[in-house]
Structure formats: C-alpha cells, structure tokens
Symmetry: C2
Subunit: 219 residues, 2 copies
C-alpha cells in the first residue's frame, strides 16, 4: 500500500494534536473537533482515520489515548535509524540539542565538519570527522540518514560524498541550496525560506498597502 | 484577490528555480521543463503563471530572466519589515547568520533572551533585551514580525508578550510547541518535526522490512 504524502502530513498533525490532548487528560475527541483544531474537514479526518483502521463511535468520537497510540504505531520506526550530521555550526549544534532529535527513533553516530577545532573531538558525545571522510565513515557506520546543516556552498559536495556510500537512504536538508540527489535517496528539506516568504506574502496581502500588479508585463 | 496558500508555495518554488536557471545563464524555459524539475504538472505551471499575467510563447517557452523578475515583484515586500528574534541560543544565532535572513526585505531590530550574558549586549550588531521587555520593545520599535526560536517551554509566554503589542502582525516559529495565537496574527511554523517524521515514514515504507498494521485495534 502506498500512502500519499499529504496523508502522512495529516497523520503527523493528528499525532501531535492527540499527544497534546492526551497530555491535557482529554478522554474523547470527535472528528469535527480534530478538524476544527487543525483546519481540516471533519469528513477528511474520518476518511483518513478509517483508512488506517480506526473508526470513532457515532455521537461519541475517538478515544484519545487509543488513537494516539495507534497513530504512534503507524509512524513508529522498525528499528533505530543511524544518523549523521554534516555541519556542526550554530545550526547543527541547535539541531543536536533540539527535542526532536532526542528521539528514540534514531541515534546520531557521526558528525562531519572541516573546522580543525571540531574535527577529531567529541561534540555532545559524538565523534566529529573531517568532511573528506564522509563516504568512508558513512559506509563503516552503516548510516541511513544524513542531516545536512552545512553552508549552501558546501551542500552539493556533502550530498555527493554521502550518496557515494551504499548505506545512505535519506537526507534531510536545512539549507536553501538546490542540490541534485540520486533517485534512490529520499530527500526532504526543512524550508525556512519558503515559510518566511509565505508569511511575508500574506502579511503584504493583509496589509493591502500595496496592490500587487498582476497585469501583463510590457513586451 | 485572494491567493491560495498552495499557489504561493508554488510561486516560491518557481522563483527559486528561475533564480537558479538565471544564474546558470539559461535563457528560455518551457512549462514542461519547469514542471519536470519541480514535480508539478505542466498544465498547472501554465495556469499559475497565466494567472499572474505571464504567458509563455507557444513552442518557445518563458523568458527566464523576465519571468524571474516578474515573480520577484509579486513576492516583493511593500516596505522593509521590522523583525525581532526571541531566543538567541544556537538556533537563534544560526538564524541570524542564515542567508535567508540577510534579505533586503526586512531588518532584525531587536533580540530577546533571558541569559544575563546576552541581555544588554549587542549581538551581531543588534541589541538584546530581556524577554520581560518584549511587549514594550516591540511596540516602541514597531516590530511587525517575531521569529520564535525559544525552547518549547517558553514559546507560549513569548507569543503572549508579543501579541500584547498592537504592532505585531506575524510570527514565524521554529519550535515544535503548540501555541495559541490570536486570529489577527499570521502564524507560520518551520516544522522540523514534520519533515523528519515524513522522511522516516517513507524510509520505513521503502525498506518494507516491517509491515504496518492497519487492521482495527482490539476493543
């Protein structure tokens, strides 16, 4: 069964909401309430959840805790993923400290940088290697996922070095740089640029101080 | 005219691609090529661009430079936005150094933190204030946008303090925390958690080592 990306995105939203509701000791929630809180149609919520085998009680709703555990299982990792981080600057360091990266789902097993102050040292308990060793270390440590937090100018060479290892399966990039990634490697991007541009676009629309000119440009 | 969010997202993708093509000295690009490179249907590309007043030449395509400037104008800011950053830890520092935040579209005019080592100092040329001064400083400096890079536990109080000022119009959050934001404030999130979970979900699907159980849970 192939699950579409927007479905997975909604599933992650459901999980996050249910986890919060569970923490707030909410016992039951309806598809209408879930939809309202997330800006999704109730019919879509019911469709998604029934697709994953969960049907709410008519007039009652879903058991929060049960549904939360159920979605957690769907999102669960089959094993601990082996992760490496390229780029131990401020962003990389922030990522290492981010709650999201303290997940039981994976383990950061290698760092890469070119800074002589960092290479050869352990940082937050993880060994930092020189970037030129990327392919070898990724292969030796059987790394599945590379987190890419290097400057834009170094992004492509990091991806190439990682992709040269047979073990790498996915890359999560934190750079706005466009990079070419082989088809067999999953590539996702945490897109600061796009979110910021969206915010600014709608701010402008809202302010309405400047009318956007959509008419044709002069030839 | 109200532009839908997915349209704006595509517009940002077009812009990024065209900017790159322009840098590579590509002169002309067809809707089919744009679509291929971005994973969007050619018909959608043509529809989007004609909606914004740009029509390619049949059998030739779009003039890259002209189209790039055109979209840049649509995304352009009517004025320089006044921005403040809450949380000057590793993440906040990384954001200040990020190319995206060296945009001519806005200016970071205040930092907020609670660390006595930072409060009262200038960091990368910007004054850092104590978080308890958030409302006053945001009002005085007429800040439009707050970048939220504080730990999850501090996110809500930061949002509340910012929202208490009449000047704040938008928040871009870098925290996974769920926060309540007044309706009159635009809120976007750079969602590290969701992108990472998506990557791990599709990695799992691809590996196919573990079958996901979609059948009904026991009652």
């Amino acid at each position: 069964m192939k699950v579409a990306e927007p479905t997975v995105e909604r599933l992650i939203q459901y999980y996050r909401l249910l986890d919060r509701l569970n923490g707030e000791k909410t016992k039951v929630v309806s598809s209408l309430e879930i939809g309202d809180m997330l800006g999704i149609k109730a019919s879509q919520v019911r469709k998604d959840l029934s697709y994953f085998g969960e049907i709410g009680k008519r007039g009652v709703g879903y058991d929060v805790k049960r549904l939360c555990v159920h979605i957690e299982n769907i999102l669960d990792a089959p094993r601990v993923w082996h992760v490496a981080l390229a780029g131990v600057g401020n962003l990389g360091t922030a990522l290492m400290g981010h709650t999201v990266f303290k997940s039981y789902k994976f383990k950061v097993e290698a760092l890469f940088d070119i800074d002589p102050q960092k290479v050869g040292r352990k940082i937050m308990g993880v060994e930092c290697y020189h970037s030129r060793e990327t392919t070898r270390i990724i292969t030796e440590k059987n790394i599945d996922v590379l987190l890419l937090a290097v400057p834009a100018s170094a992004a492509q060479s990091c991806v190439d070095a990682a992709a040269a290892s047979p073990s790498i399966r996915g890359i999560l990039a934190f750079t706005p740089a466009t990079v070419a990634v082989p088809d067999n490697i999953l590539f996702y991007r945490v897109d600061i640029f796009a979110e910021l541009e969206k915010l600014l676009f709608f701010l402008k629309e809202k302010e309405g101080k400047e009318k956007i000119k959509y008419h044709k440009l002069p030839e």
